[in-house]
Amino acid sequence: MELIIDGFRKAIEMILTGDREIFEITWLTLRVCFMAIFISSLIGLPLGMLLGLTRFKGRKIILTFINIGMGLPPVVAGLWISMLLWRSGPLGHLQLLYSPTAIVMAQVLVSLPIVTGLTSSAFQQINEKMLLQIKALGATKIQTILILLKQTKIAIVASVMAGFGRVIAEVGAAMMVGGNIQGDTRILTTSIVMEVSKGNFDVALAISFILLTVALLITAALTLLQQRKRVS
């Protein structure tokens, strides 16, 4: 109990005194996570839409793989990305291993299936009759997409939130492909693991509170966006 209070106090102290290192680590965490979820949304939302609205051969197989991917263990993603980026690997010449970009790649790999899968189920829920009606009212394709996006807004934001939750909580892959390098690829989750193994439980706890605060703020912002009343 005492340890928790100590950790909490340490967290406040770190924030108030503007601990440079913790600030940099938090900033890098945010940059990496946002980049990952941005890329995942950019690919996952249209892909999910496509899979949700259209019917074509091989679609079920793709959906099966995406559903498996939703549970892809991050360490597996980490191992795959590592092998890809090893100097002896196919992308070795890019020298990306142990860089923030490598972490982003691993995080995209674990969050993309979540965003795609949840988006596609949202679009599969759309009533066929509504599609017909939109068509009957003479909407252009762009208009149709906009209407559908409005209809599924809650589910789409939820899918982005789920993906974001995955990347900000992720540690195994980030450790493996990032290497937890000080001032370079050390993010909040990997610092917690390192501080625990160094026996600095108070620091680890302090960082955990910072991580929770960050996650809470972002999720709250997204929830507000999700629950906002329609403007038009």
């Binding site: 980049m35 941005f38 950019l42 609205l53 090893w86 100097r87 970009t101 997409i145 390098i181 026996g199």
Partner: protein, 284 residues
């Protein structure tokens, strides 16, 4: 039904956009390190050098002097050596002399130099269930095995693990069973597990001293003795065998580690916090 073509076009646009974002990402990274474009040097090392804090003292000096960004990957010696064999690292700082020699023989590592030493110690529960006392390490291992007390091993192919296995072999015992707990983790984490599980564990002194305050259940049971010397070597990964290796900075790093100034820093490290040196100078 929506036109597939439209969606496909949208998708392509997204991909293009994504490609553009990719470049901004690297641009940002570049801007961050714009000062004078330091070169990257990947150092694969053991958890003990990082967890003790030694590298936090040494690396900034080296980076400043040579305009190099050292990327430290702190893993067990086994994995560090493996990174050397595969050419994934540029320079290694490890402590498993026998396995290191294999790397030199195979031509994966060159320029191997002795850097420093400290010692291994055996720690165990304060109530000492196996009644081990200050005797030599081999006898202690035998006693623990016979009394069926818990023994915690890192089991991760690290230098400490290799040392431990060497001692088991020397006393002709194959450790196994419920009382032989293999953690597969670094020294710090393994010490904490030993602390919780009332186990004996072989550790390097540096990590022990750095963590002693958290390990209220443990004490040193065997120390001293020449068999327990823990010697660290630094070596370069052979650029002739692995073409992407940064051998220029790796060579500088080896020279840096054995220079007399660095050796003084190494020996004075830890004196203030622990009242004793964690590592001792030991060049050839």
């Amino acid at each position: 039904m929506l036109s597939k073509r439209l969606l496909a076009t949208l998708f392509v646009f997204m991909l293009l956009f994504l490609a553009a974002c990719g470049t901004t990402n690297t641009d940002q990274a570049d801007a961050k390190e714009k000062k004078a474009e330091p070169t990257d040097l990947i150092l694969a090392t053991t958890t003990s050098t990082q967890d003790s804090g030694l590298l936090n003292v040494l690396l900034p000096i080296f980076e400043e002097e040579n305009n190099v960004k050292v990327k430290t990957i702190a893993v067990g010696t086994g994995q560090a050596l493996e990174m050397g064999t595969k050419g994934e690292a540029d320079v290694l700082l490890v402590h498993a002399p026998k396995s290191e020699e294999e790397l030199v023989t195979s031509g994966d590592a060159i320029n191997r130099k002795r850097v420093m030493y400290n010692d291994f110690i055996l720690v165990g529960p304060k109530d000492n269930p196996a009644s081990v006392n200050g005797e030599d390490i081999n006898a202690a291992f035998k006693t623990i095995s016979e009394s069926k007390a818990n023994f915690v091993t890192r089991g991760d192919d690290s230098g400490t693990h290799k040392k431990e296995l060497g001692i088991w072999t020397a006393v002709n015992i194959q450790p196994a069973g419920d009382t032989y707990i293999s953690t597969g983790q670094g020294m710090g984490a393994s010490l904490q597990i030993a602390n919780e599980k009332n186990g004996y564990i072989l550790t390097d002194r540096a990590t022990w001293l750095a963590q002693e305050k958290n390990l209220t259940n443990l004490q040193i049971v065997v120390e001293g003795g020449k068999d327990l010397k823990n010697i660290y070597h630094v070596m370069q990964v052979n650029p002739e065998k692995h073409d992407m290796v940064n051998s220029k900075d790796a060579e500088k790093f080896v020279d840096f580690m054995v220079s007399s100034e660095t050796q003084d820093v190494i020996e004075s490290f830890g004196k203030k916090d622990y009242g004793q040196s964690l590592f001792f100078k030991y060049t050839e």
